[in-house]
């Protein structure tokens, strides 16, 4: 199947997804379950990686600024910018594309090959709306919080790394963080996060929903979905940066 056909099929899928849920009570149950599966269960990995990557960014910046004419506060400034602009929204979203994307594809794909989706359809349920819509809302609702937490922990990790390594002082780092603070950068990061969250929920759902075959096909679809979600995140990142920051 060519790419144009896939894109068309993806948008046709979305047209079925964005419908009024057939039963709000069931929808809310699914939504809370998805928030737990796709959001809360990703907290640990995101917190862990953010903290250490923030530390590494601060250390790398400190090690590359050897000139006495450059103020040490620049380390905090650079770490803040790197974490808020790119690391937290983009890097964390790519991690989530791997973790959550493969989960979504394999769970929906398994439902497809074991006829659970057919069972929903026979009951008269819009299976795309029932399975995918709660996932989209869960990621759109929860990922901004997750990314905000990643920003905070990344910056905190940088401060801890500096203090423990002795490469820069905590005061210099905090001064750098407070220097030239532009609130729009947070807005920019949140906008990016929302777009990436949408991709993380829908692209793997597409790969899972239309899988054909058995367990091997589900495995292949999982891999493909992670690859395509990552590619689309990188492209969307470039386009959004061009649109919002230039």
């Amino acid at each position: 199947m060519n790419y144009i056909e896939h894109i068309g099929k993806y948008f046709l899928m979305l047209s079925q997804v964005f419908r009024k849920p057939q039963k709000w009570r069931v929808f809310y149950e699914s939504l809370f379950k998805e928030i737990e599966e796709l959001g809360l269960k990703s907290l640990g990995i995101i917190m862990f990686i953010s903290f250490f990557i923030g530390g590494v960014i601060a250390l790398q910046t400190a090690l590359n600024l050897e000139s006495p004419f450059i103020p040490k506060s620049l380390i905090g400034f650079a770490a803040k910018r790197s974490v808020i602009l790119e690391f937290a929204p983009t890097f964390c979203s790519i991690i989530l594309a791997g973790k959550v994307g493969s989960y979504i594809t394999s769970s929906i794909g398994t439902m497809r090959v074991t006829e659970q989706i057919d069972a929903l359809e026979v009951m008269g349920i819009n299976s795309l709306n029932h399975l995918v819509f709660p996932k989209i809302l869960a990621t759109l609702f929860f990922y901004p919080f997750l990314i905000a937490l990643a920003m905070a922990l990344g910056i905190f990790g940088g401060w801890i790394a500096g203090v423990f390594s002795g490469l820069f002082s905590g005061v210099d780092y905090v001064t750098g963080i407070q220097t030239d603070f532009n609130p729009f950068l947070i807005t920019y990061a949140i906008i990016k996060t929302l777009v990436f969250a949408f991709l993380i929920a829908t692209v793997p759902s597409y790969h899972g929903y239309y899988v054909k075959g058995g367990s091997i096909a589900v495995g292949k679809a999982s891999t493909q979905s992670v690859v395509w979600t990552t590619i689309l995140i990188v492209i969307a990142n470039y386009l959004l940066t061009q649109m919002l920051l230039t």
Binding site: K23, V26, T114, E115, Q116, D118, A119, V122, M123, I125
Partner: protein, 254 residues
Amino acid sequence: MIEVNNLHKGFGGVQVLKGISTSFEPGKTSLIIGQSGSGKTVFLKSLIGLQTPEQGTIAFDGRINTEFTTEQKRQWRQEIGMVFQGSALFDSQTVEENVMFPLKMFTNESQKEMLERVNFVLNRVNLENSNSKLPAELSGGMQKRVAIARAIVMNPKYLFCDEPNSGLDPQTAIVIDNLIQEITEEYKITTVINTHDMNSVMEIGEKIIFLKNGIKAWEGSKKDIFKTDNEAVVDFVYSSNLFKKIRSVNFNEN
């Protein structure tokens, strides 16, 4: 009553169903038999609306399903119960949640009322005290019984079963067959079963339709099937060594 008229369906230029016409009566168990690849599953999926026919009509009590509006289609779906070959239970949900799911989606009953109904149908399929188990914790036969309970929980008018005995031992298969037949008679459901299990044919086949290469090659009762001269049916029925031996014994006795 379900009336099928001149049903055609193909995939990628290959005709799978070639003009099938038949009918299924309420309160009776009808069996669709035939070899693998004969079009049984496509026929069943066309009946339940998972495949759209290229030509021909399927009428449910006079209502043609391809002419339904969205709302009519939703109503009609609620009249259908389906038991899939692999049971198709939602593996993240317990037995109770699986059976309660259609009630949650389509009724406004309270939790207590739904639970009463769930316990009633689970009791009907002899599955008491399994409410909190997950499908993975059940045997194949128990999974089939949960699937039957889920299929009948909405009091369907039509029950469809795709290979309900596949993967089951002969004794459990008979239990499932009898259960389906009892439910069919008790609730006056129109039941259509897709199978290639000759034991099922002998147990519950009130009406049998034999498909071969997408064509209805034969139609009759379980008594007729052992007397027919139709070569394709004879080949299929006596493909089992057991049935061959029974036949030769009968011939010798006669």
